[in-house]
Symmetry: D2
């Protein structure tokens, strides 16, 4: 049974930290959050994983292939670089949403996000045996979005992007998938078990509801980094006009 | 007449760059985007401004107090640190949305976002005379959000956050305001000209529609950094239970 | 009387931190030291100053124009980004070496570098009145160093660089100047009060002793950033062959 | 036959870049150099290597265990993050200095450091077969250096540090070793083939010549990261007073 492995990464006691001794400048919090994400992305991706920024104080990573020891090493390196610590929960399941639930429960078992004694905690389970590791990722973007960027007010496009995100999140959720915004007009879905037909239908409905056409590359591999790579290559082939379809699937050998 | 000054920051020819010679790893793009934002935030905030990450390849800054020369210096420093360049449009108006439209038009006048010859361009106008500089910022967060974080699946909370964002963006837009997600359960609105009564009404409707209670600190000052600081202090006073109201306003002397 | 202002920046209790609970990986310490220096450089230079990496856990900055409040703000921002804090001592004098002595004494008055209770301390005095601010910087490099880089083993060149540094440090010290290695074949001296004739003599002796020819641009201004800029421009003019001399002096109007 | 593998990392055409179109601000160059080093350290160390900052535009890494493909991947990631590229030469030998010579020759074979067409070049050979990988590292520091830091002017201590470095570089060179300054009062030598007796003698002579007592931890392992770790642990044991000797050796099983 092929499983996806999800890690929830939570900054320990972050809320209280941001206002101690008094509210820290918003610019400083933004810089810290961006740097923390960049470093976690660096570390997870060097081991084949991929991190989504999500709520920034709570990040979600696809972590197939990373052991509990790998997680611990990353936590130690964060301690050595930042004024905050992170706790992590790891979970796996056939469906991404379910793996995320398991990861959240593991994390919550280590104590409250506001408990000052909870520091660099780690709980949960990784995929066993390792040959069950499996990741499916959809990389989507908006057709002709340059036209929007070059003619519409920036903020208007952003509102549209946000509506697309909400639509995709809700529709993918019905099938156990999770969707994240990646910047620009790019979205990535963690989509284990969601097949091409479902994707076609979702993109069709999106066009009906929001008037926006999108295309999608679907990548499948044992690691997130590779699944994302295949998804981006598939999307690029559609962009380059090598295909008349708006969905291409690529699977690791 | 008091005016807000908005800068649109756009990565030049970013789409093509991300797929040349072939699609770059998603992890690398995320790291670049995060670092670029962190550095722009550092530079704008050191001059009293504040940057919102927005679409990541298109960022929005409140830039009251920054001259065209300040903008040019920031553009040069980006050239010296990153493999990409940024063009900028600057606009001002009484309402944030209108200032953003002016900034976008200025930017678009310098050429298409995909024009390989458009590099580090700058266009637009700053607030003149400087005593008309004025920034109003609302810092909002969700009541009892720790409860959500400690009991709900992380992704579910994120979906809720996204619905709140869409709701706030749409409602503020009617009054010419812009809303940005700042991580955690935090939102910031650029709200020049939107008074307390309107805010009370929006938060009341939010509760009716999404069942979520929020509180808001409203800061007013000549510079974004200070307006944000006052807004965060106001919000912190409500959090600390020093006030029974869910909105506090603080204005620079 | 024109004075240079020097700030000594010392990581608090760094030695013990690097081995708690056990020796931290050397790679992590190097990353932390580099990032800390990059951020301090960013902050000091945005206010017209310049930081030398020096001993890495002890840095030296030319800080003319920075108030005690500016220093305090920088210290706060370091707290918000790093797992360590920095204490600072500020001193001024006609000669760079003397200003550095004053800065060190101010710092030492706040407690031992290994006192766990000493955190983000600040002591010393800035240049008063401000019209006495004055900075002289010499930017030097080695003639035809590309030839070395392209034909000699890298490490051999580095040994030579180190010998040049020791020679320059000792000779400049006699005149109250301080010399720092800036990477490549570049050296910068803080040289208030050291005139062209002395420089010519030092470079002549260097050639005799180590067989190396160097050239020098000398910049003079009220702020370090501008003095360094003038020095680099002067050096560039010699490099470009616009001058037959190996020393050019440029002074702010 | 056990061999050390050294990689020379050289920024391509860096000199010309720093003055195009006009001399870039020194603060910006320092920030770029620090960030480039931090990222290279991150990448090499995640694969078991260790990078020395050396001349900053020319860095030296111990790269046992890294394949040519690993090197290429690192080069690509630098392209995606920085405005400059790096070329690399890889060499191996029994003695560190000789491996460095081989690495430099490999690099120089790809073209001049100022050739604008030389970008991200890679040449040289890695250790074959892999069971011949071997790294010996000495981590040294100065006894009672806190006393210096807390009582002497900072710059004076730095001059002493520089004299110690020159002394150690010259003495180690006789035995084919290379020495690097690591910040604070820390030095690391790449010392394959240099035994304890030689170290004892060098430290004894250092005391005679400069009046400074030092201690040393010597680590031996198949990878640089682990050799450095063992060296730091050995040094820490001496510091903690667990041993009366000033040299401890630790070897990987």
């Amino acid at each position: 049974m092929r499983k996806i492995q999800i890690t929830v990464i939570q900054v320990d006691c972050y809320g209280p930290w941001t206002v101690t001794p008094s509210p820290k400048p918003e610019s400083e919090l933004q810089i810290l959050q961006s740097r923390l994400y960049a470093d976690l992305q660096e570390k997870f991706s060097s081991l084949g994983g991929l991190v989504f920024q999500a709520r920034q104080d709570n990040m979600l990573a696809i972590s197939n292939g990373l052991t509990m020891d790998d997680h611990r090493r990353i936590q130690m390196e964060i301690v050595e670089r930042f004024p905050v610590t992170v706790s992590m929960g790891v979970g796996c399941a056939e469906k991404p949403y379910d793996a995320q639930v398991a990861a959240t429960l593991a994390l919550q078992s280590t104590g409250s996000s506001r408990n000052p004694d909870r520091k660099s905690k780690l709980a949960g389970t990784t995929v066993v045996p390792p040959d069950e590791d499996w990741v499916e990722i959809v990389h989507m973007d908006v057709n002709h979005s340059t036209l929007l960027t070059d003619t519409k007010p920036i903020y208007e496009t952003q509102l549209l992007i946000n509506e697309i995100l909400t639509f995709l999140m809700k529709r993918m959720l019905r099938h156990g998938g999770m969707v994240f915004y990646m910047g620009g007009d790019n979205f990535m879905a963690v989509s284990n078990g969601i097949d091409e037909k479902v994707l076609i239908e979702i993109l069709k409905d999106l066009k009906l509801e929001l008037g926006v056409e999108m295309k999608a590359g679907l990548g499948k591999a044992r690691r997130a980094a590779n699944a994302a790579k295949l998804a981006s290559q598939a999307l690029h082939e559609i962009r380059s006009g090598k295909s008349r379809t708006n969905i291409i699937v690529k699977c690791e050998d």
